[in-house]
Symmetry: C2
Subunit: 590 residues, 2 copies
């Protein structure tokens, strides 16, 4: 993989490197940290177009148009590289990228799961490339090879043909986190995923892993499948175990899992640090707004006593090498893309000035260039992708008399984890309803409402009367409620909103959060998104939500790779045994 | 790039990794050096087919067919990887590979320059792939993008279309050493090579560099061209300079340039050692026979005090990563190809036992498997590629009366380097001839004899009456002689031989060395080749040859990128100024 460079620019680089021509931009009077040798030395940086022509003392010509940046003794380090992340709903792929650049992260790799499902592969592929072309930082994509909530016609989205089409794009680097890894371990039957993984390697791309909770024995077996990495270590021992097996270790600190502190001691147990990188794995908007992205992870590492050389390597050349983009990204060196952070010194990874693709993009944490997301044709890009939300009466939400009683409910013990508990049902209308005060009936449908899966969730938020959202990992519709009436009302409001999240408190107050981008993302600025995310958290907390971030709860109640009970197209399922505890109801023939 | 693995084998690896099935081969009771962490720990190694299924204590089933290797406390390290080499004429791509395996080098990357020119791109591409498929070690190829001796229709061999065809093969990893780098530095005109380099990157392959003698300023400019590496540093400072620029540094120790000792201090001047590897860059057969290949370079590094961890990294995972083959080669880890060297301990890189592609291939430096080169269909592979050698009378070799007098002769000061000296000519027959006792007239022609370039070389070997060879870097015919008669005789003998090197001493004794593979390579075993190479060196020394290896002299007298005078299709040229001192004579219309 490579970021391409046309011959005209190469010729300018060659001339400028020899000081035969003036650069477009000259950063002078600073020092440069060399990512290859670990040295720091005074050097100017001459830039042509989006690439670095020369690093060293500049004695060549300057043109009138040459922009000068006085580095004033600051230290230049490479722009930070985020090898695996997800834009969350209150942001979007462009706005998260803009925020990232302001904090020195100039390259991001996004998982395309949800937008791909929401828009369909063909239209999304067009959009993904348009986003990559418009984006301020480098935006690359990785393609999912399986859903997080099994459904019937997955091949359309995840099959070999669909993957192959995506891989024709230079913006696709490989296959995304292999969440469905248990399938790979079946030694009696080859998972179709195996040939998808090999096909990915055949076209020079890589396979990203996701081996959350895999035992050492399973992990060792997964290391034989052609997967390159794992970002799911949560202890230093797990990280070391992965590295020993030859997996690239992406040390994660996300808003959902702030594991970096626990992981860092691992760095002392290995002689080599070249196959280790940082990742935020999708940090919530307020978290990013408060703390930053990769810059925050570097700061945490430095605070914990990690050396400058290792901390900055894990944020720059290492992830670029992991992504096989190291000929273009991850270094302040001739020929590389001019992504440069100027730091007051290496103790402070938050850049005073950020150069992204050859232009001064941010100073002191604030963007100083036009924001691409403001001009992006969102409306055209997403035309026809608005979620098709059914209008259902309250009868649709009542649990039928045939529902098991007591009902195997999902008790929420963590934003993303449920435990099975029985909940007794009482007769209600022509059906049944849970009597527990902290229980919500859950209904999950696909877009279009062809089927409905019902379940019960406890310990979400006692003061939440009802909630409906289009932000679920199955890219369907999730409704939670204390009564059938409130559920029907919430769904109806969601339909009027056109996609997003609506909720009603037990005091009867409504809050609405619009995700006009295919029902998955907001299309405003990152700052607006962070405000909305805080407002959503705040209202949920006021309703009694006591876990880390309610967004993850909505997202993952449909996720059939997390314990213990989940709602999928098949029904209300016990994940571990793959048992349908209460089947879905088909509502239409198609 | 990847070495592919079929699904059936993946399934066996997955089962065996979980100890649900028996391995084909179990190495037990040894220790394993972990290339990722630098740890050494006791471990068994379970192998299925050509891949490693598990590294760790084996408690699973063994089948009757399971082959057991008792490691008896030996240390397993990955098979060594040679990232850049050339088979020399007394060996060939298969026989050098067989020798390499016996010394623990289980992967070699070959430059295809000479065979490609000798056979033509289409036929050679077929052969290259057949060699890679038949070879005992992994054999990959890199494609030249320019000749080493300019000629008219280079595009057929080096143009974008020719390169593209080669890159469709999984056995081609990229473009070969960019010897014609001065062309890239012309800032006024884009060299067509620039787009070839970018096209290479576009298809996920890499560009290998060769920046011999480039000044710091030129080197810095070359680093902007999309080239990944350089193996031409000859001092520690030059190595550091290359690393700082972001070039992979291949530390060379060849028979022509034994530079490793001078280069090693460089390792102390960098914090990071992940972009450094060893290369032999084509070691002469006797040198390999005496000392080994990559195993020898590791030994030199260890003797110089380099740590085990760095020395073995530079021979294994680092070159595999450079080649982008690190998902398959360079590690003793699950899923990797089973290329394993068992060492008595890490102080002794010469393996006691070599496993190559999953089979025990060598013990104590001796192959214990059938030798693929013995069964290779050389005759069919090379049918029609015998060099077309003209039959010329002695008149062809006399310098015409029009030749400059004094003649700008090439004084050989090193096996590969000449300096210009004037040599007076005396009248002889209907032309002229040098009177100096240590001067040879040189004639170079293409195969087919369409043109002839004449020159004079001094200080080759006073006792050499005549020599003719098809082993030249222009893949033409080179004749040296003290008299026109002897030159004609030598050419005639070369024609009868069908390709190779023939020579006559001043005592009138003839020696012949046959290169039946397209006039470029011997087709015997490596041991036979080493004997022949020694015999050739010995007879040349007896004639007074006083430089390191006469093979390089024959090879490079036609090489227009080495100083100072060379013979090319254009004529007898002064390289630095690109001046034709004495033009070639066209002999036929085509």
């Amino acid at each position: 993989m490579a970021v391409f460079c046309d011959t005209a620019l190469r010729l300018r680089l060659i001339a400028t490197a020899q000081e035969l021509a003036a650069p477009d931009l000259l950063v002078r009077g600073g020092r440069v940290w060399n990512v290859y040798t670990g040295e720091i030395a005074p050097a100017d940086i001459a830039i042509c177009g989006d690439r670095i022509a020369k690093v060293g003392s500049w004695t060549g010509p300057l043109a009138e148009a040459t922009q000068l940046v006085e580095a004033d003794g600051h230290v230049a380090v490479p722009g930070y590289v985020e090898p695996h992340t997800h834009p969350w709903p209150f942001a979007n792929p462009l706005s998260l990228g803009e925020m990232a650049v302001s904090r020195g992260t100039t390259c991001l790799v996004y998982d395309q799961l949800m937008l791909n499902l929401a828009m369909g592969p063909d239209r999304f592929l067009e959009l993904a490339q348009a986003i990559s072309r418009a984006s301020l930082p480098h935006v690359f994509w990785v393609a999912r090879t399986a859903s997080q909530s099994r459904f019937g016609n997955e091949d359309k989205f995840f099959g070999a043909a669909a993957i192959r089409r995506q891989f024709e794009s230079e913006f696709y680097l490989g296959s995304a986190e292999m969440t469905r890894w248990p399938d790979l371990l079946d030694a009696t039957r080859a998972s179709p995923l195996l040939s998808v993984l090999e096909e990915t390697r055949r076209v020079g791309k890589f396979n990203d892993g996701h081996f959350a909770g895999a035992s050492p024995r399973k992990l060792a077996a997964l290391a034989t499948t052609g997967i390159r990495s794992c970002h799911e270590a949560i202890t230093a021992d797990e990280a070391l175990e992965r590295l020993r097996l030859g997996l690239w270790v992406l040390l994660r600190n996300s808003s959902l899992r702030e594991d970096l502190e626990a992981l860092l001691p691992f760095l002392e147990s290995t002689t080599f640090h070249d196959r280790i990188a940082f990742t935020t794995d999708g940090a919530a908007e307020p978290h990013v707004d408060d703390l930053g992205l990769i810059d925050h992870l570097i700061a945490l590492a430095l605070e914990a006593g990690v050396s400058h050389n290792i901390a900055y390597r894990l944020a720059t050349l290492n992830p670029a090498t992991f992504l096989r983009l190291d000929e273009d990204l991850g270094a302040v060196a001739p020929g590389r893309i001019a992504n440069i952070n100027l730091l007051s010194n290496l103790d402070h990874p938050s850049p005073k000035l950020v150069i992204c693709r050859g232009q001064v993009a941010a100073r002191d944490g604030h963007l100083v260039v036009p924001v691409p997301s403001a001009d992006f044709p969102w409306t055209e890009a997403y035309a026809g992708s608005a979620p098709d939300i059914p209008e259902w009466g309250e009868d649709r939400f009542i649990l039928p008399a045939s529902a098991p009683n007591p009902f195997p409910a999902a008790n929420l013990v963590h934003a993303a984890i449920t435990r099975e508990v029985p909940v007794p049902l009482a007769a209600k209308g022509n059906g049944q309803w849970p009597s527990a005060a902290d229980a919500h009936v859950l209904a999950v449908a696909d877009r279009g409402g062809h089927w409905i899966t019902r379940g019960i969730v406890k310990n979400v938020a006692a003061g939440l009367e009802a909630l409906a959202t289009t932000y679920t990992t199955n890219v369907g519709i999730l409704v939670l409620g204390k009564s059938p009436q409130a559920m029907a009302q919430a769904l109806s409001r969601l339909k009027r909103l056109g996609g997003g999240t609506v909720l009603m408190t037990s005091a009867g107050e409504w809050a609405e959060f619009s995700f006009p981008m295919a029902g998955i993302h907001a299309n405003g600025s990152f700052a607006e998104g962070a405000r909305a995310a805080r407002a959503f958290q705040s209202v949920m907390r006021a309703c009694g939500y006591c876990h880390s971030d309610p967004k993850y709860t909505l997202l993952f109640l449909t996720c059939d790779m997390l314990p213990e009970l989940r709602a999928t197209e098949a029904g209300w399922v016990r994940v571990k045994t793959n048992q349908i505890l209460y089947p879905a109801e088909r509502l239409t023939a198609d």
